[in-house]
Amino acid sequence: MRKRLAAHARVVAALSRRSIRQAFRRPQFLAPIIVFPTLFLAVNTGGAGRAVDLPAFPKVHGFLDFQLAGSMTQSAMLAGVSAGIALALDIEIGFIDRLVVAPISRAAIVLGRLSATAVLGALAGVWFLVIGLIFGAHIQGGVAGFLVVVAEASLCAGAFGALGAALALRAQTASVVQGIFPLVFVVLFLSSAFFPRNLLLQPARTIADWNPMSLIAEGLRDPIVYGLSWSAVGKGLGGIAIVMSLGGVLSALAMRRRLSVG
């Protein structure tokens, strides 16, 4: 049993390494994870920095501190879309057949991709926290808070990767998965990723209350702006669990369907 598990882990690690290399060798995969959210962060922070002066705005050290979580959530969602596009390209060129015809579990094929997305999510988390620190943000949770945020960013990217994988396995073409990009922004703006819930107008406020992105963004934000707390970590993990469960079930169904129709 242990031997089988080790063999399974070795396959997942090999597929993960391949996916990470792929991301670094094709800038189109990395740009949405790092470049777009960084530009968005710069524009948002520079243009709407006075938002912190609004009477109902939460007490934070600076607007950049508040925005970092939004950028990380955005980056994690786009990492998921990129993972879906990469998987769809594997389907288009037939590479996935090479994997399906190998004596490995079907789950390993998806897990290899998701673990790579989680690694990229962690790297993106470090990137945003470091540039935040360079430009004057404070991480109230300290080193532990830094590590928790990076871990959450990693899990979050993996969870969105599962949704991306499900879409790729169902659609089987990269262009369809790519079409999901605008939806990422709609979902993000209808959450508390970039603005506090209490300052959103109806019906956006109600949608944000039900949107798991709010839980994820707040779970990433709290260790930065308020410090570490079990409730903040639980909130973030709860949101991630919702997305991951949905993505996991949909991926499994889509993989089963793909194997039956070829």
Partner: protein
Amino acid sequence: MAGIDLEVAEQEIYAFLGPNGAGKTTTVRMLTTLLKPSGGTARVAGYDVVADASSVRRSIGVALQEAALDPLMTGRELMQLQATLHGLSRAETNRRSEALLNRVGLIEAADRRVGTYSGGMRRRLDLASALVHDPKVLFLDEPTTGLDPVSRITIWEEVRKLNDEGTTVFLTTQYLEEADQLADRVGIIDDGRMAAEGTPAVLKAQIGRPRLELTIADGGAERAEQIIVGFGEAMPARDGVLMVGLERGASDIAPIVRALDEAGLHVESLNLVHPTLDDVFVEKTGRHLEGAGEQPEEAEAPTA
């Protein structure tokens, strides 16, 4: 698929020949566990493709129609990944990768990205990757489609060598020459059904007599046709070329030429054609195999 019965013996090269859309790839996808059959049973290397798919996967090597390679990986990375997928140890992975890259002549290009490889190099890499775990049965889906003649012959030689070493080979092709040159037995498939099966020699012998193809100068074709039917079974002319199936084979040629000469007809060209697998296909299905006689295209330019 409309239901196919076939059996391939151990260490045999079996060619599945048929036009595009005949069901060749669908059959391969079912036999390699990529597609669940909607009915019937299939066993590969002694294992059921549905009930024991995992054992089938451990026993087979597969090179699919469009060499399914990631253009961003290097040749060596692909070999190492493939070895890991088949559970080889790290040391064994490196040893097999190097040996196979050497075998297919890609060791110099092993650290280049696959996207820079030519079509022939990709096919050779695909073949090498299918062999990394030393499979009992090798499936090759149109292994030389789109390759230049030199690359095609290289692949054929490698397939023969593998077979000599004991690997059973199941290949699909739309090239008559490929089936004729490589296969111990050929299955001709059309519209999801097996039209004929046997060794190339036996299949062609079923057609029997050779045919004579003639071109007559100065519009004498009609008269020539009336003359040549006296020597055998007239066949429909194609592109101005008259055809007649010879009852007695090559010994009919001289009397035909004499008869045409006496009638004052000038023979521009004359060709004795022995039965081909296309003739077998015509006999069994009533039409020519799509692309019969077609030469493979030149090798595609490498893409970045």
